[in-house]
């Protein structure tokens, strides 16, 4: 007799049959019927039609039947709220039952029924249960408060349940304490500002006591809560650490990792000279290593966290390299993470072992893994100088295998090795050149081109090699084209006599036949440089390059510190602060590591950075504006900005100046003397025009591409325009436009990475603006943006941000952050995105308002060259929420009376005069805020002409 029989009655009339069985007099039959219903529910079948019949079975002494009915109720009550009320009486009665199990079951189930009407009835029983004599009931009730809060937060606050919950932290039973903490933490997450978990030394003490006695899950809740506490001095931190360390030996890995988080955080406060500090360091290693012998899923999460810990405190695991060695049957996601940590731990002491391992991995089967292993060898060379030679020879061995992807990865990393150790390993160039033909990936081709250009003087046939590349110039990716351009210019500067033709060819290819603006710009810069002052060109192009840093992919220190506070959470798996991905920016509280309180610094009052408290407070000194904006981005992403007002103009001015000045000096100045002896100057006069034309065509290309976007419904959408050119933003190019669809405004962005490195950690922030536009969600770019990659995203906007009048009115200043830097740009948004859907004014009202607005507020504009009929114009305007209220024909002219409303409630009334046969329209606008008229006119013009 198994339960699979419950699935078998899938013939017609099943519901009907079940109904009959549910109403049977026999208890046993009833129970079987409910079981059948539950079985259907488990596979997602809709059995909500049986609601009244199932609920009727609720009043029973049979606990199993009762539980089954409750299971059903929880699933379907929401779809049948009126019927669910029928169950209330039974619940209320059960809450008074002498059996604590039944009391708890009732209050627990009631909390799961997400129906408003039921919650009202829940309050009284819940209040009783929170004070029940039985701890089992109390702990269930504690969780129920969190459930209720999720359904109706206001109700919970009004009923004072939060205070009762706080009292439960001092309960005598550890399980109740743990559940109260869990419930409070969950509630606090949706109310970042509320100081719910008001931790003080007394409550901490209670938590620490409960920690020893509650279940493993309770321990996790308590540890996570402890991590948010800011001890007042190093002594308190140490005593907490001492009481948390035993948790490191727990069998549950989540307990271990939460304990590690608390220790990592509080260690920050301990003085490094302390004996205890080094003891603690020693104690941290074994549990972390033990996590790696668990199931692969656990290993993965552990490894992501170890990656952070190793970056923060490399000393903890420096002797444990071997546990990160890869086994061939590890899942690929574990392999890649292990490899990453191996490189981080690589040092002079263990490099020989590491290299031997990496070489082993480079012959494995999995392509991704092999690539990463080869790359890792290069990173070792850069990190540990003593090993560079060994690494290079290992790489050469690998190149000999002639396996295409191995060779290509090797070439890419050898380029980096050359940059790190100039003039040391160039002897291998010959070997590299032999493999030129097998390179078919852009990154490898670009790297090889760079090497040839950089060492052109040592490669006899450098010109032939580069010429070979040049043949298929247009088929190469941008990355390779750019490298090729630079390499040939380098070659020319080194061997001017033989390579003139080549350089001419590449310059004309880059400037005339390419529609990539980056390539063109670089081409023009070289051309001018070469023609104006070859000596200067030499200085610029062949300048000494800055050495590359040892570790290429370290997490930025401030982010790392923040992530350390999130050990064990999703943030630690994604290596992103929660603000970057938690839905809707809900409940993001910035966490920061506590400051080290060495005795000498004890003057610093402890409340300057209490962790867990929103650190939005402003520093005393007013920082430079740039910093301020940067700070804003770092600190306060997600929830609508409430930061300080930004002095607007300066940031924007600087930006404009940079562009203007830069362009002037690039384009405007006519080259006077022609510098290069054998060098023909580019057609000087033609050049700027040429650029203009090219730009134009480039832009229209862009327009063609995007013109399809947004025409489905909603307001007119302008094509995307470049807002932030790549040259101003270290390779990040942003273009975008604004849309309004079905009442929601969004900013459609296209981000292109034109740099050579991967971009991650994107975030966006607006300055205050005239209509309170603000991002309604964080910028969601999950995957890192690799070079030459483009992403399109739509950022929803709200109009509830802070308001400050801007000049011009529709100016929007935006800051975008990524892992490289913070960039600023400003853009003008078309006003029609602010026209709301209910902007149609009643006819009478229109008349009255029109009369009411003084005539000095009237503005008149001409819209020229608009060959539309009145009907067509009206239709087009309507789709952008400009509504025709009335229409009249006066002396052959069509007069359209129109109204629109802005998001901030300002009404604008318009009279549009259309004469048949005359393409000019006359527009009169009346509004109580006359400043907007000009922009409304612009909106009219854009809508009508596009």
């Amino acid at each position: 007799m198994t339960d699979s029989k419950y699935f078998t009655t899938t013939k017609k009339g099943e519901i009907f049959e079940l109904k009959a069985e549910l109403n049977s007099d026999k208890k046993e039959k009833k129970k079987e019927a409910v079981k059948k219903v539950i079985a259907s529910m488990t596979v997602g079948k809709d059995v909500s039609a049986l609601f009244p019949d199932v609920v009727n079975c609720m009043q029973t002494d049979n606990l199993e039947l009762k539980k089954l009915v409750y299971l059903y109720l929880m699933n379907y009550a929401k779809s049948q709220p009126d019927m669910a009320i029928m169950a209330v009486n039974t619940f209320v009665k059960d809450c008074e039952d002498p059996n604590p199990l039944i009391r708890a079951l009732a209050v627990r189930t009631m909390g799961c029924i997400r129906v408003d009407k039921i919650t009202e009835y829940l309050c009284e029983p819940l209040r009783k249960c929170l004070k029940d004599e039985d701890p089992y009931v109390r702990k269930t009730a504690a969780v129920c408060v969190a459930k209720l809060h999720d359904i109706n937060a206001q109700l919970v606050e009004d009923q004072g349940f939060l205070d009762t919950l706080k009292d439960l932290i001092s309960d005598s039973n550890p399980m109740v304490v743990a559940n109260a903490v869990a419930a409070l933490s969950e509630i606090a997450e949706s109310h970042p500002s509320s100081n719910l978990l008001d931790l003080n030394p007394q409550s901490i003490n209670k938590l620490l006591t409960a920690l020893n006695e509650c279940t493993e899950w309770g321990q996790i809740f308590i540890l996570d809560c402890l991590a948010d506490y800011a001890p007042k001095d190093d002594r308190e931190a140490q005593s907490i650490c001492e009481r948390v360390t035993p948790r490191l030996s727990h069998a549950n890995s989540a307990v271990v990792l939460s304990a590690v988080k608390v220790l990592m955080k509080f260690m920050e406060m301990l003085s490094k000279d302390l004996d205890y500090y080094s003891t603690l360091l020693k104690k941290l290693a074994p549990p972390l290593v033990t996590l790696l012998s668990a199931e692969p899923e656990l290993q993965y999460v552990a490894l992501r966290n170890i990656n952070l810990i190793v970056q923060k405190r490399p000393e903890i695991l420096k002797h444990e390299m071997k546990v990160f060695f890869v086994k061939y049957n590890d899942p690929i996601y574990v392999k890649l993470e292990k490899l990453d940590i191996m490189i981080r731990l690589a040092s002079q002491a263990n490099i020989a072992q590491v290299l031997a391992e990496l070489k082993e991995y480079a012959t494995e089967v999995d392509v991704d893994f092999v690539r990463k292993a080869v790359r890792a060898i290069g990173r070792c060379a850069i990190k540990v100088e003593q090993s560079a030679e060994r690494c290079v020879s290992t790489l050469l061995d690998l190149i000999q295998t002639k396996v295409s992807y191995v060779v290509q990865e090797a070439v890419v990393v050898i380029k980096d090795i050359f940059r790190k150790y100039p003039n040391k390993y160039e002897s291998v160039i010959a070997t590299l050149c032999e493999n030129l033909d097998s390179l078919d990936e852009p990154e490898a081709r670009a790297a090889m081109t760079w090497i040839v250009g950089e060492y052109a003087e040592r490669i006899d046939n450098a010109d032939e090699l580069l010429e070979g590349f040049l043949e298929g110039f247009h088929d190469e990716s941008t990355q390779v084209q750019l490298q090729l351009l630079t390499a040939i210019v380098k070659l020319f500067l080194k061997k001017p006599t033989e390579t003139q033709g080549l350089v001419q060819q590449v310059l004309s290819l880059a400037t005339q036949d390419s529609d990539n603006p980056d390539l063109r710009d670089r081409g023009y810069i070289y051309w001018r440089l070469l023609s104006t002052d070859p000596v200067a060109a030499k200085e610029v192009v062949l300048a000494e390059k800055p050495l590359i840093s040892e570790e290429t992919d370290l997490i930025e220190p401030t982010l790392l510190d923040e992530l350390i506070c999130y050990i064990g959470t999703l943030a630690s798996v994604y290596h992103k602060p929660p603000s970057a991905f938690v839905e809707g920016g809900r409940g993001v509280v910035l966490k920061s590591l506590p400051p080290r309180t060495a005795s000498s610094e004890s003057t610093e009052s402890p409340e300057t950075t209490p962790a867990g408290v929103p650190t939005g407070e402003q520093p005393d000194a007013i920082p430079a504006q740039g910093d301020l904006l940067g700070d804003l981005l770092n600190l306060d992403l997600g929830p609508p900005a409430s930061g300080p007002p930004l002095p607007a103009s300066s940031v924007q001015m600087a930006a404009v100046d940079l562009l203007g000045g830069g362009l002037d000096s690039l384009m405007g100045d006519e080259p006077e003397g022609i510098g290069g002896p054998n060098f023909a100057a580019p057609p000087a006069a033609a050049a700027p025009a040429n650029v203009g034309a090219a730009m134009g065509s480039g832009l229209s290309d862009l327009f063609d591409l995007t013109s399809g976007v947004g025409t489905l419904s909603g307001s007119y959408v302008a094509p995307k325009a470049v807002w932030l050119p790549a040259m101003k933003a270290k390779g990040l190019e942003i273009s975008g436009t604004f849309t309004r669809q079905v009442g929601s405004i969004s900013m459609d962005l296209q981000l292109t990475n034109k740099a050579l490195q991967v971009m991650t950690d994107f975030a966006i922030q607006f300055n205050r603006n005239s209509f309170g536009l603000a991002p309604a969600a964080p910028l969601q770019i999950h995957a890192p943006l690799s070079p030459n990659q483009t992403v399109e995203i739509s950022l929803p906007l709200s109009t509830v941000g802070s308001v400050m009048k801007m000049e011009p009115l529709n100016n929007l200043q935006v800051a975008v952050k990524n892992n490289i830097d913070v960039f600023y740009f400003s853009t003008l948004y078309p006003l029609h995105i602010l026209f709301v859907e209910d902007g149609k004014m009643d006819r009478q009202m229109f008349l009255a308002t029109w009369k009411d607005i003084p005539s000095e507020n009237e503005a008149q504009f001409q819209i020229r060259d608009c060959p539309l009929s009145a009907d067509a114009a009206s239709g087009r305007l309507q789709s952008s929420n400009i509504f025709t209220v009335a229409r009249r024909n006066v002396e052959g002219q069509d007069m359209l009376y129109q109204s629109l409303k802005l998001t901030n409630g300002i009404w604008v009334l318009a009279e549009l005069r259309v004469q048949p046969g005359n393409p000019s329209f006359t527009l009169s606008l009346k509004c109580r805020a006359p400043e907007v008229s000009r922009h409304v006119y612009q909106a009219y013009e854009t809508i009508l002409k596009n």
């Binding site: 929401k78 999460v301 061939y328 089967v365």
Partner: protein, 418 residues
Amino acid sequence: MIHSLFLINCSGDIFLEKHWKSVVSQSVCDYFFEAQEKAADVENVPPVISTPHHYLISIYRDKLFFVSVIQTEVPPLFVIEFLHRVADTFQDYFGECSEAAIKDNVVIVYELLEEMLDNGFPLATESNILKELIKPPTILRSVVNSITGSSNVGDTLPTGQLSNIPWRRAGVKYTNNEAYFDVVEEIDAIIDKSGSTVFAEIQGVIDACIKLSGMPDLSLSFMNPRLLDDVSFHPCVRFKRWESERVLSFIPPDGNFRLISYRVSSQNLVAIPVYVKHSISFKENSSCGRFDITIGPKQNMGKTVEGITVTVHMPKVVLNMNLTPTQGSYTFDPVTKVMTWDVGKITPQKLPSLKGLVNLQSGAPRPEENPSLNIQFKIQQLAISGLKVNRLDMYGEKYKPFKGVKYITKAGKFQVRT
């Protein structure tokens, strides 16, 4: 916390769903299927997947995916641990954790899930408590139930639920009081081509089967407790006693449980009981290769090494293998390219070997990599780390229990590179 759970079988059918908060549509699993497709191999599906509105955290166990849906920031380890606990519970209740077993007991499964989690917070995960709330199915019970009309849901509050020892139920009674301990050690090792050890460690556990009446308080001491410096304990073990006296003192749960797990990593303590002589070669421009491996005993402390199996994932270009074992039997699966040699035990007089030819796909390039050998073995009556139980004392109860300790050493992830 944990929002919903979906159970998915290998062919991609969602055969059970359970929601602890509002209902989340099955369509959320599409993101999981997408990731699964990308991963090619079921074992390579990443455990944490983000979707526009939810996060999916999954484990793969016993050919089933347990996919949980979460919406807020939750420690992923917490979720993964919990999912494993769910699988353990199914195993415990139904004897196996399989689609068939779950479908056969779907109502119990549903009741269990409801009991294990409330609003996404774990409620009761200890098997002792769960069994008091919901009795595991047995044939006898279902017969009795159908006659008497009683149910398999307990109607009193489990006693352990709130005491300081939530893992033990009260009123345990046995006629034969027994306490057995299994010391199981697994050797994880990577041996390189030349036979030297790249990495080796011992993962040890002590599993206990305790059937003692009343509230026994046990203490277990070792001859050489210093060996154990990296340990994880069952919550019942008193950490303070261990810290100060190196004695395991505990009130045990009733039945089977894992008392401690430990790791011994210092290289010199890890003895490698077998060695492998190997020569695997593929000739250039020819469609065959040679395969020759021999296994011999190394440091086996005078015990027999038995139950040896060698598993080799051969390169893709291998079509077939033509081998002769001196002992045992071998199989080669031409689809998965896995060669398995079931050796049995080593007799030092005549070392087992496996020799022969490998047929390669003609025309394909010579494989770059040589395959790794995966070796399984067992040694009875030996804990390779040298760990020895000294004595077991019982306090708090008057009867004399029957006690026993068994040692066994096994290969864990034991790999030999060639």
